[in-house]
């Protein structure tokens, strides 16, 4: 019956509402130094960053960010210590598997039993399997490894969404009024994969409210990447693109790459582009990019004269956006010698020899597709990031598989260059992702086809089904 769950920041017995470390977090954040010591009953736990998005949006001042550099690493602090002894437990809690399942069974009773989630001695810590209730989307999920993300207990989708946003931020725009519901209301579950349909702007808004980020990150987000809202939808419909793919220019956000073993090779990137499927494809691609650029630039100042040639010209939105940015930006920005925004990093050739190249790869006709990172490519990237920008040297010629195992055959009348293997050593074959006979994916479709063949064109039977008092209606 002990409540000592000190490891990993699991809520512990604590009589004071806030610790000194939490005060430090508050200070780092855009002037909101009035922490809510008394939290509402049953409300979400919040870290020091409470509605930091709204706060920083109002200030256009320069932020002195030097004092938040790296002096306070997150893992040194015990985040969010709260007292739970006399409180209704927060939704962002950990609990034992057993207790959490009971909790989900009766949501109404949950608000009555205060500390029973931590009552049994089956201690649930970070890294252990257990249930978790997401601070963002209310989902209660079971994970084999429970851990905090950004200082909050959240589900994997929400944390990954935030992480990917930090890694590659975009400007999301809500097509509705900006108050879209994220997740199921109470404690209900969503099946896997439905979060792709979530409104990204509103999801991100909640993530920014709940997750703990450092001040530098938050300032950049507030300035450049705060989600937009199509507030009235009647204001002549002139909106920015739903999700900005190219704008604004890259800015630093705190996602650190794990250090890889240093290598010696420093081959630069090759500039050979991937072949498109056909020339028609390319024409269509450029045409759509052209139309997108036309519409996206409609609220900036310069619009190019409408081209009326049947062959659409090369897209210019990237160049245009960068030019706009550079003109209005500082000279110091220019001196950084950034990659221009229209640079296209093209992959280099693979060595084909190292274990990186040959670890997990697949074959398409006579093409081996590398799924894992080539050892040399790793060095290429690190060398490039270190400042090496030479681009036009190719790797030495490739080596590859044993000769004689691939032959070109004719499969259909028009497709000629498919592969046929020769050999007799055993190897395991499994289905690929897009194989239509991958029954893991097409299981319901197979069942449907089977049932359809069984039903046939029996319209009487169909009528009976349509009139049946079905439980699914």
């Amino acid at each position: 019956m002990s409540l000592k769950e000190g490891q990993c920041g699991v809520p512990i017995e604590n009589d004071c509402g806030k610790s000194e470390e939490e005060m430090i977090v508050d200070q780092t954040l855009s002037g909101d130094c009035a922490p809510t010591v008394e939290q509402e009953n049953g409300d979400r736990l919040r870290g020091g960053v409470k509605a930091g998005n709204d706060d920083s949006n109002d200030t256009d001042e320069a932020l002195d960010l030097s004092f938040v550099s790296h002096s306070i690493p997150f893992k040194k602090r015990r985040l969010m210590p709260v007292q739970i002894s006399n409180r209704i437990p927060s939704s962002a809690h950990l609990s034992s598997e057993k207790a959490a399942k009971e909790t989900m069974m009766s949501k109404e009773q949950q608000s009555q039993q205060s500390t029973t989630h931590f009552a049994d001695s089956q201690r649930m810590g970070c890294g252990r399997p257990g249930f978790i209730t997401c601070s963002i989307c209310n989902a209660t999920k079971y994970y084999s490894h429970v851990q905090r993300r950004f200082g909050q207990f959240s589900c994997e989708p929400c944390s990954k969404f935030m992480k990917r946003f930090l890694k590659d931020p975009k400007i999301f725009t809500c097509m509705q009024t900006g108050s879209c519901q994220i997740g199921k209301p109470a404690g209900e579950q969503e099946p896997r994969g439905v979060s792709v349909s979530r409104c990204k702007a509103c999801w991100l808004k909640i993530c920014l409210e709940k997750f703990i980020l450092d001040a530098k990150t938050r300032a950049v987000i507030d300035k450049f990447y705060s989600p937009k809202f199509n507030s009235e939808k009647v204001g002549n419909g002139k909106d920015k693109n739903y999700v900005s793919q190219n704008l604004p220019p890259p800015l630093p956000l705190p996602v650190r790459k794990r250090k890889t073993k240093s290598e010696t090779a420093t081959y630069p990137l090759a500039s050979e582009p991937f072949p498109k499927r056909s020339a028609r494809h390319q024409v269509a691609l450029e045409a759509n990019m052209e139309t997108c650029a036309t519409n996206n630039n409609s609220n900036t100042n310069s619009i190019s004269s409408p081209t009326s040639s049947p062959q659409p010209s090369h897209p210019t939105s990237l160049k245009k956006s960068l030019a706009l940015w550079r003109d209005s930006s500082s000279a110091e920005y220019q001196s950084k010698d950034l990659y221009p925004d229209d640079t296209l990093f093209e992959p280099s050739e693979e060595c084909g020899k190292c274990t990186y190249c040959l670890h997990r790869n697949y074959m398409k006709a006579n093409v081996v597709v590398v799924k894992e990172s080539c050892k040399y490519k790793k060095c290429i990237l690190s060398g490039l990031l270190a400042g090496d920008k030479e681009e036009n040297t190719l790797l030495p010629p490739l080596i590859s598989l044993t000769p004689g195992i691939l032959k070109t055959v004719q499969v259909s009348k028009s497709i000629k260059s498919d592969a046929q293997f020769e050999g007799d050593s055993p190897i395991n074959l499994v289905l690929g992702n897009n194989n239509k006979y991958n029954n893991k994916r097409n299981n319901r479709i197979l069942k449907r086809e089977w049932n359809e063949a069984a039903i046939g064109s029996d319209s009487n039977f169909l009528n009976e089904i349509l009139n049946a008092n079905s439980p699914f209606l």
Copy 2:
């Protein structure tokens, strides 16, 4: 200046609002025989199926569907002939590439020029490249092959969404009020890939309104798969799952598979399941399914007693749903000997020899993953669909690649069974989809990393950027 664009149902000069063929379409549809002869200026074109979803929802009567069997194939009719001479052109139009691009440049002028899209003699027909404005989502896109889908000119995403819904229908539920905006308002563009975020329920609702479907299909959809709306969101929050993965049971919808060459082999499906990643994965999967099933069945009659064991039991939602269906359905349904809903079609072994097996496949360690259909697997499926339900026989042993080309090596401390190739014949290597050094995919991330390294931890520069009068704000 001729308007003769008769082929492919492109809008032609026509003085009467409706043709006889269109009247036939109207008759086939659920009693709505009051077609709107006079359409509003500038409104969308509609086929005979106008709001057929709403109409059929109100009738619980049995539909005599025999007269719409296959007597009126779509391609025999010229759908939706409208007069455009004295009208403002519909949004669902074809136009030449040149004219359409001019149109998109100035959307305000579009409503003034009536017939200029078809003015030049560069005839745009189906199958030709050209611009198209989607009837569903308002997007104007360029395609290398313009064609109708379900009797309407629509973009590929909308038509594919409808087609996939027909192929594998689900019950979508809108998390908002059921009036989500689909696509950009006027004629603005969305970049590729953002339609995954669309509200599927509202998207489907519009598709069902606009696309032309036969009465049988529409009846099944209205009865079983009409999109749900979380209408008030205050009605105690008890909603069905956002998208039904398993309910209701399969029903026939008119998606015909292209006939394949008949084969002779009739190997049945094997029952060997794919291995999960680990036992922990399986535990978590079942736990989440259990919680989903608990919440989803909360509004049906029988709820199983809450299990409180730490190891979650096997999920029962599939069986439960099918049992409910069977009980309330007819005896004729039972006599069809349908596959029970909890049947899991597992893939058979591959032959590894035929051109289907070896056409486009990939390798993972010592596993060759088949991307295209095995010839024998095709036969297996066709044999199964023909009524052969034997399940427990396996294919003959596999053959595979040349010996000696695969060796097991140790890559990291814990991962041991990776592959290394030996050989010296040239082969082309390209990057796979998930390779993090696939620069086609990670281009912006690479640029960001480069810029971040160039900027470094220069807080003055960051402040300058944050205070810059950026055009992106």
